[in-house]
Structures are given as structure tokens and as C-alpha cells.
Symmetry: C2
Subunit: 242 residues, 2 copies
Amino acid sequence: MAKTAGIVLIGNEILSGKISDANAAYLCRELRALGVEVRKISVIPDEVEAIAREVARFVAGYDYVFTSGGVGPTHDDVTIDGVSRALGVAVARHPRLVALLESFYKGKLNAARLKMAEVPEGSELLAADSLIFPVIVIGNVYILPGVPEIFRQKFEAIKERFREQPFFLRSVFVRIGEGTLADFLNDLLKAYPLLMLGSYPEFSHPDYKVKVTLESKDREYLDHALAEFVDRLPQDAVVRVE
Amino acid sequence: MAKTAGIVLIGNEILSGKISDANAAYLCRELRALGVEVRKISVIPDEVEAIAREVARFVAGYDYVFTSGGVGPTHDDVTIDGVSRALGVAVARHPRLVALLESFYKGKLNAARLKMAEVPEGSELLAADSLIFPVIVIGNVYILPGVPEIFRQKFEAIKERFREQPFFLRSVFVRIGEGTLADFLNDLLKAYPLLMLGSYPEFSHPDYKVKVTLESKDREYLDHALAEFVDRLPQDAVVRVE
């Protein structure tokens, strides 16, 4: 079984349509490439209670939980409060983060900026040597910022800890539609019940009608399933296999 | 109070990073413009139980629920099953959809294609005159397809039913950072607790450091808040107001 992950995006600006999130799509691609299965993404408002409820569910449900957003110095940055409440711990100032902020802001470290030294009590700091500002983790919850450039920098710095057996993926492009294809897919799943099988129609592509994806962590299982699938399809149905 | 909405995206292809969803961002923008407040987005796999659980929660929590994806003829199209289970109703073939499919596929209407005539029992069809294939709604759940072009066509055809009092939005671009700005925002919220106030730092813009958004359904309340905010800010802090 693959390790599982859940992603919680925190931000009224996404829900109100002011910005399009880019972090979830990036993280889904990265985690998939690392062999981790993302099971759920939630987008919720900047509200302590909503964050606490969602993070608590995710902590219980998935091996890894990633939050994005809500970690700055202003009134709408309440992710640390929400995660702390989810885990039943206090909010505490981390001495190492206080020291970092002091050296960064020199004499100008006010109360608002000090908020960025707050963590759920018991948090660890990751990649403290390679990043200007380290990643905060508590239990299985990785707290990341919403700004896409910094989100990526931080994930890049810690990603190797999540690597495991990869998913193997093959794609079959066919010129028959889903209505004809459906029975072949069902038959394939009967023979290979553990196969991850996707069917994606393309309505405007000149060459093919459906892209079929076959995936497994077991390369041999995948190869057998692919061979059998292509073999069973009507002659001329396959445009190409990738 | 604004009407609320929740969006459930159904699709392994999003979670596994194969595609980036465009429907949620579109729908958030559209609903906001109509005066509706989106409270949550979930992305979940093509699994009946996961869909049933999520849709049941959303039905209880929000005025409107929109699903995207999982409505084709293949094995991984299980949204109708999931929504039916969420609402405790059977899956039924809708006679009008059967007739539509018959006229479309002529003699080639097989079992897989007939799956597209299935609805949660008791569903209504919307925009049946203007769309080739109408929108399926049951209770407060609107079932939309994942293909972005068709998703938009369908929402366009029904959107006026959601229109209400709009949100009014003003944006203030400032050249001071969030660490300095935070106290001004907190003071503003003390004076205008009902204001929706957002603070969005921009790290690479030459002209301003933070975009502050002020929103309300009460235009007068918003105008007063804006005037007071701009008045309280340090001289020269404001780059522009939109």
C-alpha cells in the first residue's frame, strides 16, 4: 500500500475567486512522483474553527498532512492557531524562530512580526540549514506558506523524506469512444482488480477519443495488464501506447 | 447573510496530478459575482463511499452543492451512485434522458451509454430546452460534468437562479509591509467587525508590498470602512485605491 497524503489549502482569496491556487496541483504532481497517494484536497476559509476541524480529520485519515497558507503576521493568518487546536496543544513561540526574526528585522521586530515565530507547541523545524525560514512540522502535519515560490522552495527542501516505491504509469490512446470502451475496461478490472485504471475522454483531439491510464506500484502486474488490454481491444482501436 | 455554497470535485486525475482542475476557480469567480459565498472545496477520488460521505456533509452544511466530474459511461464514473447514497435514494433511469440518448445514439445505445441516463431518484432536469443534455439537480445538489467546456455551458444555463445581493469590493495597494500594516488592519476590524478584510503580500511587485481587500454586501458600510482605513494609514503608504 502506498503512503497517503491530504492537502488543506487555507485562504478566503481562493474561495472568493480572487486567485487560482497553484500549490495543490504542484504538490499532487510531486507527491505522485515520489510514490505517495494524495487522497483528498480541501480548501477552507481563514477561520480557526474550520481549520481545526479539517486538520483533525486529515491527521486521523492520512499518513501525511500538508497545509498551505495563513502563516503571515496579519489578522487573517490563523493556521498556527487552527493546527494547534486540532492537535490539542498550545501555541508557543519557538526560540529559534524568534532569533531568526530578530536577526532579520534588527530593531524592528514588533508584535505582529513576532507572530511568525509562533508554532504549535512541540513542533520541530526542518531544513533549518538550507532554508532562510525552516519548515514547521508537528506530528504528521507539515505547515507550508501560501506564496507559491516559497511553498515550492520549502517542499523541495524536505521532499526526499517522502520518497518510496514509485507508481508505474502507462497510457493507451484509443480512437473508440467511452461508450464502446467501457466493457473492455470492466473486463480488464475483473482480471486485474488491483490496477488503477483511468479513462479520460478528449472531445477535441484529432487523433484519439480517449486516453486510458493504467497504474500500479508492481511493474510486472502493470505490464501484464497492459499487454492483455491492448490484445483484447478491437483491431485498429489503439492510436499509440506511452 | 449571503447564501453559501460548497464544491465537490470528483476525480483521481486531479489527486494524482495528471490534470489541473479549472472548474473550481471558474465556479468560485462566478458564484462570488452572483453574491454567493463559497465556503469549501473538496477534491476526492472516484469512489462511491468517499463521494457519499462528502456530499452528505456538504448538503447539510451549505445552501448549494455543486459536484464536478464522474458522470460518464465508464467504471470510474460513480458520482450518481455516490450522490444517491448520500441522499438515501435509489439510482433510477430518467425517461427523458433515455429518450435523449436514444435519439443521439440511434441504434447504438448500449448498457454503458445508458448509464448516462441514470440519476438519483427524484432528480429534476434544468435548462432542458437550451442544453443538449440538461443539468441534473436533486435537492440542493447540482451535478455537473468534469469537462471544463461542458461544465461552463451548463452553469451558464442555470446561473441566474443563484443571483442575489452582490458583494462590493475595494482594494487598497500599500507600500508598507504586512508587519507594519497588521495593527492598522486589526484596528479597522475593531471598528468594522462585519467587514471582510483580506491582506495579500506581493514579494516581487515594484510598486506595492501588500494588496488589502475590503468587502461587504452593504455598500455604505464598506465606503465608511474604506475612508477610515485610508485616513488612518501613514502618509504616503497608499499607492492606489481601486
